[in-house]
Amino acid sequence: MKSIIIKFAAASCIIIAAVSCETKINPELQAADPILVVDAWLNNKPGNQVILLTKTQSYFDNTLPPVVGGALVSVTDNNGMIFSFNEEPANSGIYIWKPIANEVFGTIGNSYTLNVQAEGEVFKATSKMGGSTPLDSIILKKNEPTQINPDFYRAQFYAKDLIGIGNTYWIRTYKNGILLNKPSDINVAYDAGFSAGGSFDGITFIPPIRGRMNPNDKDANDKALSPYVPGDSVYVEIHSVTNEAFYYLQQVSIQTNRPGGFSELFARPIANVPTNIVNLNTTGKKALGFFNVAAVFGKGQKFVKK
């Protein structure tokens, strides 16, 4: 729904956009103690599974986040199976589970509990691995040029939501092997649509979700670039996420995707993104971040030159 409002704002600015202006500023911010951030998004793709432990830093500190080393990290499932995540000796703060032979992480329908012991405190989080849905096709189309949409190539993926209410997905796109990972690339779906109250169930994902695989980038002159050109290759993944993880990612998108300008008229209040990481000691320090276990389907496509 936010995208509708942004489009709407874009339409409105045509008249008065010329007079608005934006300035980069450096306001003074309150200081805060750093706290633990758990970044644990596991899935059943072949290969290693990685959990990152870092800390918050002050907002204008433009360095890499401080890492949290020396923690004990493991995941257990509802059958009592334990998956150990061991810290990389060369890379402090990175905890890895390595598969044996063709083993993959997780089974659809199982529940998982994350355990983190760091800096004298114990944190837990739970997630259930739901089913994902396969992709049918990815299609590249040249737009009919209009004043608002210039002569661009845009892509869409086609996939159907699983039947039944309450399936939630995170769609991730790799362009020429590189993950598209700006705030404007966050693409989540509740069933085939945007939200629980909207109830698009069991059908092809609605067009704005299909089209969000198009990156939104500008050249050195601040001119918008065509999202794809013939010759590009693309790979789209659909991750199953829990409803809670859907709301987490939706909030991350609301709080981080700030195109500015007139869309600020319709900005929603700033709020902290929720977390599912819980300190077992309720009076202990809080933690941030999220734990989710996903099943993944993917599909690649190379756009041929004609």
């Binding site: 729904m1 339409a11 202006c21 306001p27 204008f60 209009t146 698009f200 067009p207 700030r258 500015g260």
Partner: protein, 792 residues
């Protein structure tokens, strides 16, 4: 409550008893040049040193003992008419007043000389007449009613481009806006840059910020009563203008001289017309325009009966191409019948249909499309009676019946050829009220007004209702049960007694003290969690899960005239408001197309308090006012801001407005306004963290509104040049004037918001992400304008 009723009945009957051997003078007061009824014109009786004031339809009635009297009929800016008569029977006197032609035109905010603000029982109200609105320097040269209101004490806005206005710390959705008695649900064209009211068709605007009379209800914080012109009943008159945004034309004329007349006023933005030859989008079916049509006709059937029919239709269209775009607008129709039962009993019967709708449409082909429309419409019937019991009592009573029809979403999405109906069921509601109030002069010094309104609200079937489970405070509640209610079922009902009381203590001829208490109830809620309200915001009625909003407001004020000729007026008013059942939203709330919307709403307490000071110079070559408000507006909701009070998004501590008008010569005049307000609250993060490669802001203090944006200030001015009054030695039939203005003279970049984000560049994995703060000014430069206006 029962006590109040007893007092009321007692005073009515005692009033009737007292008037047994008294006689009545009644009638209408009108403008001699065009026959328009004058609202708030005064009748002053020299012998008794009291009198009466005309009501919204220009009618007055005074009951006094039989004797010889001298009556002064007056209205500021008009020549006073004196009548002497021997009152030996009930007498009807209709009077026409002429405007003081040769005198330099002056700007009038408060009408009435003898019945000035100091002596009026009303408080917390501001009147703006259209001549004043036309003189205030305007944005892009378009006189605008709502932007003009924002220069008054206690009125504010979150910033340029934001729709609506905030009164005494209330939200945009807590204002009742009536256009000839019809509610207007969205008062803006082009987001909030212009309001929907065409100044050429408006007679008078009155804003009630407190002490709202018992005959009005339904919103918490204010009533904006916009009265349209009736149309010239003497001669044909055409007014119009060409501005930077709109072209306007209004035609008014008698249908039957002095008996029936009409006005039709049309405005349209014309940038798209000018741009069409150059812009392919517009040739291909794209659109970008807004327009409105205002019309009104009235017929004076006989001295006791008069009917009025008024209508408004306005629309905004934004289309990207033939099949994609947005459109929204209001439509209202009002039919009114004034009937005078006898010299002392005046009645008005109103029937209203009002509608607000929007629609949007996306998708280039039938295989993938999305169509959505939303409507709120209502039908209102309102009988109102005024009984002029005697010189000391004026009784108002009546009722109001409103039937609402909400269509939150009629929506169909087609994805890859498969349509899905995602509509949200319609809602039906009934809001009824009865009221009675009496305005009573207890002694020469003390006047009181006391009234009671009883309102009753029903949520009617058919509709599905949900109950929601518990969640942590401030978090989304999920639906647990669903119930279908059939047509005819009453799903939920609420009723409330709304007492209203005000007093005036006339300390001296020049000074008075006034106070009031009023309870207001609001059954409809404007659901909006964005910084500025927008045209897609939905109105939601009270339901089994959403309680009506309540507000208790207390005011106390001191009013004083200064100078022999009462050239200056000063007032100080303090107010305190307690609000219950205020609507707020869970973090990440989904407000559109969400059938479980109620699970995303949270309810809390509100409070607003402040002091408004106002100084006005009413006559002379230099006129104008200075208004300063010191105020605070807060909410307290469990789960937000750790459960503590936090400032609303539109909280402004200091609010200073200056407006000045100066007559340089007979042809040139100058206007200026200056605004200085403290910044509105914002929430800044303290920290940042990285989640899946994305930089997320984090506020470790968990507070809301922890910072104030920089102050907002702006100076605007305009020059007005009257066209020559004579041509070749003869008096011109036409009149015209030019307005040259500059908005935001010293080009201040006033901040609308400050937002935090990561830089737009893609960051390779393993590299640090940069964060930035951006300050946005909606208007970052000075804006010159020129407009030409004519009348013939």
């Amino acid at each position: 409550m029962r006590f109040l009723l007893v007092v009321l009945l007692f005073s009515v009957f005692s009033g009737v008893a007292q008037t047994a051997n008294k006689l009545t003078i009644s009638g209408y007061i009108k403008d001699a040049s065009n026959g328009e009824a004058l609202i708030g014109a005064t009748v002053y009786i020299v012998e008794t040193k009291n009198g009466g004031v005309t009501n919204e339809y220009g009618f007055y009635s005074i009951t006094i003992p039989s004797a010889d009297y001298t009556l002064h009929y007056s209205y500021l800016g008009y020549s006073t008419v004196t009548k002497t008569l021997t009152l030996d029977k009930n007498t009807r006197i209709d009077i026409e007043l002429s405007s003081e032609a040769e005198q330099l035109q002056e700007v009038v905010v408060q009408a009435g000389v003898e019945q000035a603000n100091v002596q009026n029982l009303e408080m917390s109200t501001n009147k703006l007449d259209i001549k004043t609105i036309q003189r205030i320097p305007s944005f892009l040269g378009e006189s605008d009613l709502i932007r003009s209101l924002q220069l008054l004490p206690g009125v504010s806005t979150v910033g340029e481009g934001a729709g609506g206005f905030n009164v005494r710390g209330g939200s945009v959705g807590q204002n009742l806006i009536l256009l000839d008695e019809a509610p207007v649900y969205n008062s803006s064209h082009l987001l909030g840059f212009f309001s929907v009211f065409n100044p050429d068709a408006v007679k008078e605007v009155k804003l009630y910020k407190g002490a709202i009379p018992a005959r009005y209800g339904g919103r918490l914080s204010s009533l904006l009563d916009v009265r349209m012109k009736e149309g010239n009943s003497k001669k044909l008159e055409v007014t119009g203008g060409i501005g930077s945004i709109f072209s306007r034309v209004a035609v008014e004329a008698p249908l039957i001289k002095d008996k029936a007349s009409f006005i039709i006023a049309i405005r349209r933005s014309y940038i798209d017309v000018l741009a069409r030859p150059f812009v392919k989008l517009l040739q291909d079916g794209g659109a970008l325009n807004f327009y409105d049509i205002t019309l009104k006709a009235n017929y004076n059937i006989n001295p006791k009966n008069r009917v009025y029919l008024s209508g408004y239709f306005g629309r905004d269209n934004f289309k990207f191409d033939k099949n994609q775009g947005f459109s929204w607008g209001n439509a209202t129709t009002t039919l009114r019948w004034n009937h005078i039962f006898n010299d002392r009993l005046f009645s008005n019967f109103t029937a209203v249909y009002s509608n607000y709708d929007y629609s949007l449409q996306f998708g280039r082909d039938d295989k993938d499309s999305f169509k959505w429309s939303s409507v709120i419409s209502n039908y209102i019937v309102k009988p109102q009676f005024t009984y002029f019991i005697n010189g000391n009592n004026e009784l108002n009573f009546g009722a109001e019946f409103i039937y609402y029809n909400f269509e939150p979403a009629n929506a169909v999405g087609v994805s890859n050829g498969q349509p899905t109906d995602v509509s949200i069921a319609k809602k039906y509601n009934l809001e009824n009220a009865i009221y009675v109030s009496n305005s009573q002069k207890i002694s020469k010094a003390l006047s009181i007004d006391y009234g009671l309104r009883y309102s009753l609200f029903h949520y009617l079937g058919p509709d599905s209702t949900y109950t929601y489970g518990n969640a942590l405070p401030g978090k989304r509640r999920l639906p647990i049960t669903r119930k279908y209610n059939k047509s005819g079922d009453v799903i939920a009902s609420y009723n409330n007694l709304e007492p209203r009381f005000s007093f005036k203590l006339q300390a001296t001829d020049m000074a008075s003290i006034k106070g009031s208490y009023s309870r207001m109830v609001q059954y409809l809620h404007l659901i909006s969690n964005t910084t500025a309200s927008n045209p897609l915001d939905v109105w939601n009625p009270s339901t089994n899960n959403v309680k009506p909003q309540l507000s208790d407001q207390y005011t106390l004020g001191y009013f004083r005239d200064i100078g022999k000729e009462r050239k200056y007026e000063i007032s100080v008013e303090a107010y305190w408001r307690d609000n219950q059942n205020q609507v707020d939203y869970v973090d990440g709330a989904d407000l559109l197309l969400n059938r479980y919307l109620e699970g995303d709403l949270v309810s809390g307490q509100g409070r607003a308090y402040g002091i408004e000071t106002y100084f006005q110079k009413k006559t002379g070559r230099l006129t104008g006012w200075v208004s300063y408000t010191l105020a605070r507006s807060e909410l307290k909701v469990e789960g937000i801001n750790k459960g503590d009070w936090y400032p609303t998004r539109f909280n402004q501590t200091h609010n200073l407005k200056i407006a000045a008008f100066y007559e340089i010569s007979k042809r040139w005049s100058f206007s200026a306004d200056f605004i200085y307000v403290s910044g509105t609250p914002a929430t800044f993060p303290t920290s940042r963290y990285v989640s899946q490669g994305i930089l997320v802001p984090y506020n470790a203090t968990e507070s809301r509104g922890n910072v104030e944006l920089p102050d907002y200030h702006r100076l605007d001015f305009s020059f007005r040049l009257e066209g020559k009054k004579e041509k070749n030695g003869r008096k011109r039939k036409n009149s015209d004037y030019w307005v040259f203005g500059i908005y935001n003279l010293y080009a201040r970049e006033n901040p609308f918001s400050i937002y935090f984000s990561q830089t737009d560049k893609r960051v390779p994995q393993g590299q640090p992400i940069s964060s930035q703060a951006t300050q946005l000014a909606i208007i970052g430069t000075l804006i010159p304008s020129i407009s030409y206006n004519f009348k013939f």
